[in-house]
């Protein structure tokens, strides 16, 4: 929509009249709040926003947003949203998906959306479990996890969603968690501001089937020592008064005590690096949510988005051949007259 002024809104304006139906204490509530609080600052109209989701607890999200929305089928939200964003570049299309929805059944649609750089804002609620189906392990569950479908423990190596996204040519990749509303709001805003596919992994607590999965790194007490905030152009530091930091050298990347190496040796985060290699390295710093883990924007680079390029090709074609003329189309092959 070509815009006059955007009406001022508050969280209430973005809240639908449907009762929220998650388990009491579910992390999804705080994510919902963060998104509803972020939207008023995004300069968008309610009618131009669409939330598309698959199936899962996370996927109930659209019902609670007073916007357009589609609760589709398991794993297909990125594909459906791709069609919508191609058809309607004027809209702001969000995808809400769980770790199973996005990375198990929906993995292929996700990586292709990232590759194509469709203009979507993908929120991946990662609770490392299948919530809606009552507690089977997911592609992000840690090896050894005992669940209904793995009574003797999972033998699968989990995906690292940030690594997967970077390996799939993503242009915007970020990570946040459900215990830090301010950070969530910032990440959601930045993701939306990015033109192209943006994906935000949100660590989310499923207090019924996987309680405390991220407790070691997201709790108020541990957070400072366990979360590594990434800020573009800044040396990567964390811990009490930046005690610790990250360095990159011929030996690769690792966490150090700043005292040992000196500030200048620290890696300066470059989210805009065209080559995703260093960002990928950062995604490998932690082997799970029990080691110091980077959060924030890993990558944010400009690349023409899919819908815009489609429109450019359409415009160019009309430039060349004028708007389609049906009569002429039918006669474009060899024709003959019968009198």
């Amino acid at each position: 929509m070509t815009d006059t002024t955007i009406p001022v809104t508050t969280r209430k304006d973005w809240t639908s009249d449907q009762e929220v139906r998650w388990c009491p204490g579910c992390g999804d509530y705080s994510i919902l709040a963060a998104v509803q609080l972020a939207l008023p600052d995004m300069g968008v109209r309610r009618e131009d926003v669409v939330f598309v989701s698959g199936i899962g607890c996370a996927a109930r999200f659209p019902y609670y947003m007073n916007t357009y929305g589609m609760h589709s089928i398991h794993g297909r939200a990125p594909a459906i949203a791709t069609g919508l964003a191609m058809a309607r570049p004027d809209l702001h299309v969000f995808v809400v998906s769980g770790d199973g929805d996005a990375l198990s059944i929906g993995g292929n649609h996700l990586i292709h959306a990232l590759r194509r750089n469709v203009n979507l804002t993908i929120l991946l609620f990662n609770n490392q479990i299948y919530g809606l189906t009552k507690g089977q392990y997911s592609p992000t569950s840690e090896t050894g996890k005992v669940t209904k479908s793995t009574p003797f423990g999972s033998i699968e190596k989990p995906f690292n969603p940030v690594s997967v996204a970077l390996g799939a040519e993503a242009t915007f990749v970020a990570r946040t968690h459900d215990m830090d509303r301010t950070h969530m709001i910032e990440m959601v805003k930045r993701a939306h501001a990015h033109r192209g596919t943006s994906i935000v992994e949100i660590y989310q607590n499923c207090n019924v089937f996987n309680d405390g999965a991220f407790g070691q790194i997201t709790s108020k007490q541990t957070r400072d020592e366990m979360l590594i905030p990434l800020e573009h152009g800044k040396p990567i530091r964390f811990g009490a008064d930046g005690r610790r930091g990250v360095v990159l050298d011929a030996g690769g990347i690792r966490v150090v005590d700043v005292a040992d190496v000196g500030e200048d040796a620290l890696l300066v985060h470059d989210e805009m690096a065209e080559n995703p290699s260093v960002q990928f390295m950062l995604s490998r710093l932690a082997s799970g949510p029990f080691e110091p883990t980077p959060i924030g924007v890993f990558r944010a680079v400009e690349r023409p988005d899919y819908g815009t390029q489609v429109n450019q090709q359409l415009a160019a074609a009309q430039e060349r051949n004028g708007p389609g003329d049906l009569e002429a189309l039918l006669r474009s092959g060899a024709t003959w007259e019968v009198a």
């Binding site: 929509m1 639908s16 009249d17 449907q18 109209r45 309610r46 009618e47 131009d48 669409v50 939330f51 598309v52 199936i55 019902y63 947003m65 007073n66 916007t67 357009y68 929305g69 589609m70 609760h71 589709s72 089928i73 297909r76 594909a79 459906i80 791709t82 069609g83 919508l84 964003a85 191609m86 058809a87 309607r88 004027d90 809209l91 292929n108 649609h109 292709h112 489609v310 090709q313 359409l314 160019a316 074609a317 009309q318 060349r320 051949n321 004028g322 708007p323 389609g324 049906l326 009569e327 189309l329 039918l330 006669r331 092959g333 060899a334 024709t335 003959w336 007259e337 019968v338 009198a339």
Partner: protein, 631 residues
Amino acid sequence: MSDTSTKHQTETRKESIDRVIIRFAGDSGDGMQLTGDRFTSASALFGNDLVTLPDFPAEIRAPAGTIAGVSAFQVHISDHDITTPGDAPDVLVAMNPAALRSDLNRLHPAGSVILNVDAFTERNLAKAGYDADPRQDGTLDAYKVYEVPMTELTKKSVEHLGVKPRDAERSKNFFALGLVSWMYTRPVEPTLEWIKDKFAKSPDVIEANTAAFKAGHAFGETAELFDHAYEVKPAEKLPGTYTNITGNTALAWGLIAASKLANMPLFLGSYPITPASDILHELSKHKNFGVRTLQAEDEIAGVGSAIGAAYGGHLAVTTTSGPGVALKGEAIGLAVSLELPLVVVDIQRGGPSTGLPTKTEASDLLMAMYGRHGESPMPIVAASTPAECFDAAIEACRIALKYRTPVFLLSDGYLANGAEPWQLPDVASLPDISTSFATEPNGTNAAGDPVHHPYQRDPETLARSWALPGTPGLEHRIGGLEKADVTGNVSYDPANHERMVQLRQAKLDGIAADIPPAVLDGDPDADLVVIGWGSTWGAISGGIDRVRARGKKVARIHLTHLHPFPANLGELLSHFDRALVPEMNLGQLCKVLRAEFLIDARPLSKVRGLPFTAPEIEAAILDALETGAAQ
């Protein structure tokens, strides 16, 4: 027509014939499809009626010279209306032994064979599996045989151009084309013109092919071999402008037309698959019509993206073949539940599984009807001829938009690649299929505020109200969970679920009143009614004509709408206690007719990757009439 060509034609004696079936057969590398295609166009331009049957292998290119590598193109041209590519070819052009071996059995007993003798080497004979040379061992005694050193003559014809022998050989199909064009007095100029822009990029190729074509033409005229040429006069056709068109092109154009008539942008979400890919190719060319095409990562994303585009207000289509439909079932079911317009095009091919990807079959009807979980009824439209794919596409879009429902559009490999002359419709006369979108709230929520109720229905069509994203004040959510009637909110209420299931069914049933009634061809007091659908139209027509020519009575109905059936079908069928249902499957429509009307319909099945022939239909009808009489 240019002087030269007219000159040629006046010089030699010409015998007029009313129809001829020519089959060009050679190695996949020999360009037989191009040759046949070109001969077809020339004949179309000349005004003949015609039907074609391309017939190529599944391999990209099997080993040269082998049976598996044989690619053929059959064309039936006539001075009167014809409906099939013909049964037994009158002329077989065989570019190598393999072609001769694989196709000779099809040749008409009194047919002629034109051989490229240069290809009849020891090695090639062996590759084709001939122990002896069929030219010596009597294999060909029954036929009129023309032995032409095409390769050599072609090489000679281009020598002066300094073309390398290896490349020169490539032009031999144009020599053959030239020869056959002379034999059937096809106009020459159009083909020379066509060669020019077809190969515009490489002038040498233009020269070579032109030279080869002219050489072939001249050879026919000068060589003693052929005592005279034949002439197939233009067919009597309704006045108008004609073009020669394949089913896939007609279908693609029909979709573009529909988007104009609906005044909605066209969106295609598709994944390549034989024999449907050409629709994607064709549509991706016409971006100036505002057509958006996505080659998705798979079939599910193909239909998924189309559902997304439909939600955004585009005329959404997904194209595929059987295997793709088998993957799209869940997503199509979502469209049924969302009640969004969507056209699902299935260009059927030989199954099950990968089956015979390049051969035709019509065995997806029951999947189209029942291939989803739960009660998810869908309208089904099927095209009967290549040109009719244009109208069928528009009709499928009309129903989808008017009733907010996914619609199946069935075609098959035979229609997709087959061609026929098509009288161009008067664009102005095409139907307006535009639909309306909600702009104002149509209800109030619990709080009493005005809102959009997406499942409020039009009392007549039962189509739901459709509000597009971007419309202020009509924000709403829809999904695949059962929805409360009217409001569309999630509902687990048992009574509501039953009501919604019945509403979706009632909406479909209601379409019967909005489609053309079935037409009974032939008198109702005939002994037997033949019921067909899809591409069997041509063969059934031919078969019926033959039966009637014998003075026997037989009635016939051909269905374009398979779900729901036309409202009058039951009444029509009630006049007959015996029905024959020819299908390129094991009797799928037959099952549905029996269930619906309790009529003792019997299947006539052909599952050979090839269309029915008129004689096959004729024989089956005669047989049915006899057994019937015997009863």
